[in-house]
Symmetry: C2
Subunit: 480 residues, 2 copies
C-alpha cells in the first residue's frame, strides 16, 4: 500500500485545463501543495496543464508510472483500459488505480456494472490494486500526493503542520465535507492521509485498517461508514488496530429509513445497526454522532495523551458557561468529579482572587471574570498536579480587559514545560466566535486542543475517556 501514498509517477486521465472541471482541480491541488514527484496529465487536446506536459494516452508516457488516476467520464473506461493493457504488456509499472469518476456499479444499471467489471478485469490481470470507483481520491499530506478535486477555499500555506489523523470515507461527498470543514477551523486541519474508497471494488476498509495499523504517521483513524459486507473481518481488523491506536467511526444508516437511503446510494447493505453497535463496542471503537464531534474527537486523540481515568476537573473563569459545562459533564456516567487534596485546595485558593469559588462543588473551580493571566495558568497547573485529576476542562470567556494573546502564549508555555510523562489531557474551551480566533490559533499551533463551546469539549473528553478505559481493560486481560 506504501506506493499508493508515495508513488513514483502519477498519470491523471481526464486532466483538464478548464478550472471548472474536476480534472483541473486535481492537478492544481498537487501544484499548490508543491508535490515534488512527476505528474502526467493525459489529455490529447492540450499541450500542458499548469506546467505539466500532457500526454495523449497512457502508453505514451516514457517514464515509470506507479499510480493512474481516472477522472474522465465513465463511458470511456473501455478505451482507457485498453491503453493501460498495452502499457502494462510492455512496462509492467502501474501498481494502483484511483478511479474517482462515478457512474459505475453504484448506479445498479447493467451499463454501470459492466464498466466496473471492465476496470477490474484489467486490474486483476496485472495485479493492480484499485481505489474506488465513485470516490474523490487519495491524499497524503506528508508526500504531498493529492488526487482529489476538492477546493477547500483555504490557501494551503495557512494550514497547520500535518496531523496524525488519517481518514477513510465511504462517501465522496462526506469526504469533501470533512476536508472542507476541517479547513474552515481556526487552524485549518491538515490530515495525514485521506482515502475516499467509494464502491470498494477492491481496496476496502479491512485492507486500509491492516495497512494503517503499523503506519507510523497515523496516530488516530477516522472512518465514515455506510456498511461493509463482511462483519466478522471488519470486527477482527478493528480489534487489531484499536490495540495500538484509536479508531473513531461515524456510521450512518442507524435508522431503518437511513439504511434504505444507504442501499439506494452505494448499494451497501447497511445491515442492522445493533450488529454494528455491538462490533464497535467490542472492538473499542469510538462511535460519534455528528461531523463536529468527529473532527473534535480526532483532533483530541491526535494532540493529547490518553487520560489515566475518568476524573475530569472543570476549571472555569465564567460562571454561566461553567454551569452549562457541568450539566454536559453530568450526562456521561463515565466522567467523574475528582476530589482534590486539602493541600491542592489550599494552594489553589492562594493562587486566586478572594472571590474565586474553589471546589464548591468538588471538582469545580470558578476563578471569576476578574482573573488575570497568571490566575488562569497557575491554578490550572495546581489542579493538574493533583493525583486525583485525570484530565481538565479549561473554560474561559475572554473579557476585553484580559490580554488574550498573552493568555494563549502562557497556556502554550505551561504545556511545553510539562515533562512528557506528566502531561494530562486538557480540553481548552475558549468562547467564542471571531474575537478569540487569534488566541485559539496560537493555542492550536502550540499543540493545544481548543473548542468553541463546552458541550464539544465534554464530548471529546468522554470519547478519550472511553477509549482509554478500553485500553486499560485490554492491558489487564493481557496481564492475566
Amino acid at each position: 500500500m506504501e506506493r499508493l501514498f508515495n508513488p513514483d509517477g502519477i498519470a491523471v486521465v481526464g486532466a483538464s485545463s478548464n478550472p471548472a472541471k474536476a480534472g483541473f482541480v486535481a492537478i492544481r491541488n498537487m501544484r499548490e501543495k508543491n508535490y515534488p514527484g512527476r505528474v502526467y496529465p493525459i489529455n490529447p487536446k492540450e499541450k500542458e496543464i499548469l506546467g505539466y506536459p500532457c500526454f495523449a494516452s497512457l502508453p505514451e508516457i516514457g517514464e515509470n508510472v506507479d499510480l493512474v488516476v481516472l477522472i474522465m467520464p465513465a463511458r470511456m473506461i473501455g478505451e482507457i483500459m485498453d491503453g493501460l493493457d498495452r502499457r502494462m504488456a510492455v512496462r509492467h509499472d502501474v501498481k494502483f488505480i484511483v478511479c474517482a469518476a462515478a457512474d459505475y456499479a453504484e448506479t445498479k444499471t447493467p451499463e454501470g456494472v459492466r464498466r466496473q467489471e471492465r476496470l477490474m478485469q484489467s486490474a486483476r490481470r496485472w495485479g493492480i490494486r484499485v481505489v474506488g470507483p465513485n470516490c474523490i481520491g487519495v491524499i497524503d499530506n506528508r508526500t504531498r500526493v493529492d488526487t482529489t478535486f476538492v477546493d477547500t477555499g483555504v490557501p494551503f500555506s495557512t494550514f497547520g503542520e500535518p496531523t496524525g489523523i488519517t481518514f477513510i470515507s465511504q462517501s465522496g461527498a462526506l469526504a469533501s465535507a470533512i476536508l472542507m470543514e476541517g479547513a474552515g477551523r481556526v487552524v485549518p486541519v491538515l490530515y495525514n492521509k485521506f482515502i475516499s474508497i467509494g464502491n470498494m471494488a477492491d481496496v476496502d476498509f479491512v485492507d486500509l485498517l491492516d495497512y494503517l495499523e503499523t503506519d507510523e504517521t497515523t496516530r488516530v483513524i477516522g472512518i465514515y461508514m455506510e456498511g461493509y459486507r463482511d462483519g466478522r473481518a471488519l470486527a477482527a481488523a478493528l480489534r487489531r488496530v484499536t490495540r495500538k491506536k484509536p479508531v473513531v467511526v461515524l456510521k450512518v444508516g442507524r435508522s431503518a429509513t437511513g439504511a434504505a437511503a444507504a442501499n439506494s446510494h452505494t448499494g451497501s447493505m447497511a445491515g442492522s445497526d445493533s450488529v454494528y453497535s455491538a462490533v464497535f463496542r467490542q472492538s473499542g471503537v469510538v462511535r460519534v454522532e455528528t461531523l463536529d464531534e468527529l473532527i473534535d474527537t480526532l483532533q483530541a486523540f491526535d494532540k493529547m495523551p490518553l487520560p489515566a481515568g475518568g476524573n475530569v476537573f472543570l476549571y472555569t473563569q465564567a460562571g454561566g458557561p461553567g454551569i452549562y459545562c457541568t450539566d454536559a459533564i453530568c450526562r456521561w456516567p463515565q466522567l467523574h468529579w475528582p476530589v482534590v487534596s486539602d493541600e491542592t485546595k489550599r494552594r489553589l485558593t492562594e493562587s486566586q482572587l478572594p472571590m474565586a469559588n474553589i471546589c464548591h462543588p468538588e471538582g469545580y473551580a470558578d476563578i471569576t471574570a476578574s482573573a488575570s493571566v497568571a490566575n488562569h495558568v497557575d491554578g490550572l497547573q495546581i489542579v493538574l498536579e493533583d493525583s486525583a485529576v485525570d484530565a481538565a476542562i479549561f473554560l474561559t470567556v475572554v473579557p476585553t480587559f484580559l490580554p488574550q494573546k498573552q493568555l494563549a502564549e502562557a497556556l502554550v508555555e505551561r504545556e511545553r514545560s510539562c515533562p512528557e510523562g506528566a502531561r494530562k489531557p486538557v480540553y481548552y474551551c475558549v468562547m467564542a466566535g471571531a474575537y478569540t480566533a487569534e488566541a485559539r490559533a496560537i493555542m492550536e499551533r502550540g499543540g493545544l486542543c481548543t473548542f468553541n463551546t463546552p458541550d464539544k469539549a465534554v464530548l471529546a473528553a468522554k470519547n478519550l475517556c472511553d477509549y482509554a478505559a478500553y485500553r486499560r481493560r485490554l492491558e489487564k486481560e493481557d496481564a492475566r
Copy 2:
C-alpha cells in the same frame, strides 16, 4: 421599559480612555454603531473620550439623562448614588440604571449585599428601574444603544440587518459568548435587543417578557436561565408570550452538580429541573441544549414561517450526508416523511438527471453530485408545491464544478418569487467550511436560513415543528 432601549441621554459612570478597560469599550461600541443620541462619560480626570466631553459627576450634566450606566468599581457605589440623589432632587430625569459592575449581592458577602442595597435604596426612592448589577448591559440595535463592554472582534459594518431576535441572559459571560458567537457566523448576527440581567435586583425575566410580548420588533425571544424565584409568575408570563411569539430557552442546572454550581454562582436556587421542564412544556417554550442549537433555532424562527405540520422532505445532492441527515431526522418522532403525489414524483423525475433517486425511500430525493443549478432549484420548488410537504431540508456539498454563487442567487430568487402565504420553511444545509462561506453569505443576506451540518438543520426543524404544534393546539382550544 421603552426608555431603556431608546433613552434621551445616557451617562456612563466609570467611562475610561484606556482601551483595555470596560469603561472604554462601552463608549467605543456606541461610537462604532453611530449611536445618534447624547452620551455623557463621567470621569473627573479626563476632558473627553472618543469625542464625548467628560463630566466629573452625575449632577453636573446640564441636559436630560434617561439612563445611567454604572461600570465603575462597586466600592464607589455610595458616592455615586449620593450624586444621583442630588441630581434627582433637582431634575427628576433618570428613569433607568444599568449596573454592569460585579461585586454586589452575588458575592454573598455582607459588603456585596450592602452595596446592592445602597443601589436599590436610591432607585426605589426615585422610582428608577435597575438592570443588574453583575451584568454586561443592554443593547438595542435599532436605536443603536449599546452599554455593553463586549468586543465581538467583528467590524460593525459587516453585520447583517437587525434581526427580530431579542435575547435575555442571566449570565454575563454567557451573554458575551452569545454576542461573540453570533458575530462569528457566516453573516454576523445583529440581535434586535439584548439584555443581560445579572442579579435581577429589580428588572427580571417576568418584567422583560411582559414588555417583549408586545414589542413589535421582537419576533422571537431567546433566554439563558439559571433559575427564577417565582415559578408561577414565570409560567404565566411565558404562557402569555408564547401565544404570540416563540421563546427559546437554554436552562442550565439540569444536573444536581450543575444546580450546586449555579447556587455558588448567582446565588439562584436552580430548583428541581423537572419542575422547570414541566413549566416549559406546558407553556410551549422551546428548550435547547447547546449554544449552537440556541442560535440556530433563534435564526430559524426569525427568518421563516411556522410549518403547518411535521412532514419534512429531505432534498439532497449528496448521498452520504443525505443518509447522515436521514438518521438525524429519524431521531425525532414528531418529524415525518411526507408521501408526495404521483404527479409530484413525475414532475420531479422530469426535472432531474436520469441517475437521480426520487423518493426511495418516501420523502427523500438524491439529485446526485452531477446536478446543475437548475436541477437544484427546480426540484426544490416542485417538492415544496406538494401539499403533503410542510417543510424541506435542502442539503448540498457544493462540488468544485458547480458555480456556488449562481446556486445561492438562484435559491434566493426562488424564495423571493414565492407568494408570502405559500412560503414553507426550508433549512439549507450547505456543507462546509470556508469554501461555501460566500454562497452561505449570499443566502443568509437574501433571507434564507443556512447550516453547516445536517444535524443542526434537523434540530432547528424539530424545534420549529414543536412550537408550531403548540400553537395549533392553542388555536384548537380557543376555537372550542
